[in-house]
């Protein structure tokens, strides 16, 4: 039997999560409270889950943190520590929307941004956004400002409003229409790459672990010609997956699309945790330098 592609499995998870966050507010309205909340704070049958950035903002604003927020932020950060920022590619409903917009309405394919997975600029921009938000809260901003930049937050808040009041939340409608439209026009998923503040703490947590899951490149298995950009074109973030594994991986969210495309091309790209380098071997994720293309 044919093994399902990573993208198929990912779509199942993404659609399941996106559907669940629409369904849950309606179940709550009917008095079923086993699951409740949104992407900023969620209650999973008594287990608290929270957006780590929301917790950080509360701490910056009130200089205290509840047990629910502290415990709630741990699962997301632990997942990022072990698996990288997989939330962005496998869970986030805005990630799904953004990808679908790109795949279906941007017929010329992804703009090849020439970004390496190790490029620090996008993460630096996002980190600056987060620092500005936290700084504003410390300086006396009245509300947790960065929650207003949470696209999954807007998505789930829109569903809550629809269930509770039968209304469309105007801010959510604006954000969920305008941002994907701008992304489609620009040909880049710039929100996810350069602006999304929620992904910053996850990316930073992922950087702490050298053994975390990441896409590895085994150059000797690559059967593509130098000008074949199949794996580069598969990445919805426009990243080059053929990257030497010696530097920290800052942008890749482990979606696995490049691995899918490589399945019929030598399986040079694959998921792995820490790979031991052997002397004189190129087994470890492109230990030989990448040839100039």
């Amino acid at each position: 039997m044919k093994t399902p592609t990573l993208r198929f499995r990912r779509r199942l998870v993404q659609c399941g999560v996106a559907g669940a966050f629409i369904l849950i507010p309606f179940l709550n309205r009917e008095g079923i409270h086993l699951l409740s909340g949104n992407f900023l704070s969620f209650d999973f049958a008594g287990l608290p889950l929270a957006d780590p950035l929301a917790a950080a903002q509360v701490f910056a604003g009130a200089f205290s943190l509840t047990q629910a927020l502290l415990i709630g932020a741990i699962p997301a950060l632990t997942a990022a520590l072990l698996l990288g920022p997989v939330f962005c590619a496998w869970v986030c409903p805005y990630g799904l929307l953004s990808e679908l917009v790109h795949r279906n309405f941007l017929h010329q394919g992804y703009a090849f941004s020439k970004l390496k997975r190790t490029d620090a600029r996008p993460l630096a921009v996002k980190t600056a956004v987060v620092c500005a938000g936290i700084g504003a809260i410390l300086a006396g901003a009245p509300v947790p400002l960065l929650n207003q930049l949470s696209m999954p937050g807007w998505y789930s808040r829109a569903a809550q409003h629809l269930a509770l009041y039968g209304e469309i939340l105007p801010g959510a409608a604006l954000m969920l229409l305008v941002v994907p439209a701008l992304e489609a026009r620009s040909g880049r998923r710039f929100w996810c790459l350069y602006l999304c503040p929620q992904s910053v703490l996850l990316a930073l947590a992922g950087m702490l672990s050298r053994k975390r899951l990441r896409v590895r490149f085994r150059r000797r298995s690559c059967t593509c010609r130098a000008d074949d950009r199949a794996c580069l074109g598969a990445c919805s973030l426009g990243l080059n997956p053929r990257t030497d594994g010696t530097e920290p991986d800052l942008l890749c969210s482990n979606c696995g699309d490049c691995i899918d495309i490589c399945r019929t091309r030598g399986r040079a790209l694959f998921f792995a945790g820490h790979v031991q380098r052997r002397q004189g071997s190129d087994e470890s994720c492109g230990a030989t330098p990448l040839q100039k293309e």
């Binding site: 909340g37 209650d43 009245p142 947790p144 809550q160 509770l164």
Partner: protein, 166 residues
């Protein structure tokens, strides 16, 4: 006149509340009476913080919202310590104070969730508010047929530093 809204029970001070509220909406989701509305504080992007418009649907002090709040923006307190505001009774309008009217309304007194504590009968027959015991739930304002009793939200009090709200 636009009625000033109330914050749900358990708010310490408006500043502390706004710093803590992350708009997760769980208070509104668990509210038995659907009286909590999530509306932006400023224009579209001000954060959907919970509000109670007592003239539309007051709080019945079930206290589920404050127990559900994960950030302690709403603290898990008892109904007596809800600290949402204080009812103010206009003696010139209340028919119970008009001796010549001969009417014994008592609607506010009968419906008050803290009947006998926050609203009591002075001299055994005239409703009166005991400000220090009033939770400010807004039920009295909602039920009063002639608008003789209004709730002043705690957030509008001059020194909103949690002193009144305990």
């Amino acid at each position: 006149m636009i009625t000033p809204f109330l914050r749900p029970p358990g708010v310490f001070s408006e500043k502390d509340f706004k710093a803590r509220c992350i708009s997760c909406g769980r208070c509104a989701q668990v509210c038995n009476y659907a009286c909590i509305e999530l509306t932006p504080d400023y224009f579209l992007f001000g954060g959907d913080t919970p509000k109670i418009f007592q003239s539309r649907s007051p709080c019945f002090l079930c206290m589920k919202c404050s127990a559900a709040c994960p950030t302690a923006a709403l603290r898990d307190v008892t109904a007596e310590d809800a600290g949402m505001g204080t009812a103010v009774l206009d003696r010139k309008r209340c028919v119970d104070y008009q001796t010549e009217s001969g009417v014994m309304c008592w609607t506010c007194y009968e419906r008050c969730p803290l009947k006998g504590t926050a609203l009591y009968l002075r001299n055994g027959y005239i409703p009166a508010v005991r400000a220090e015991s009033c939770a400010g739930c807004g039920v009295c304002e909602y039920v009063c047929p002639i608008g003789a009793i209004r709730v002043t939200p705690s957030r509008l009090l001059p020194a909103d530093n949690g002193e009144k709200r305990r």
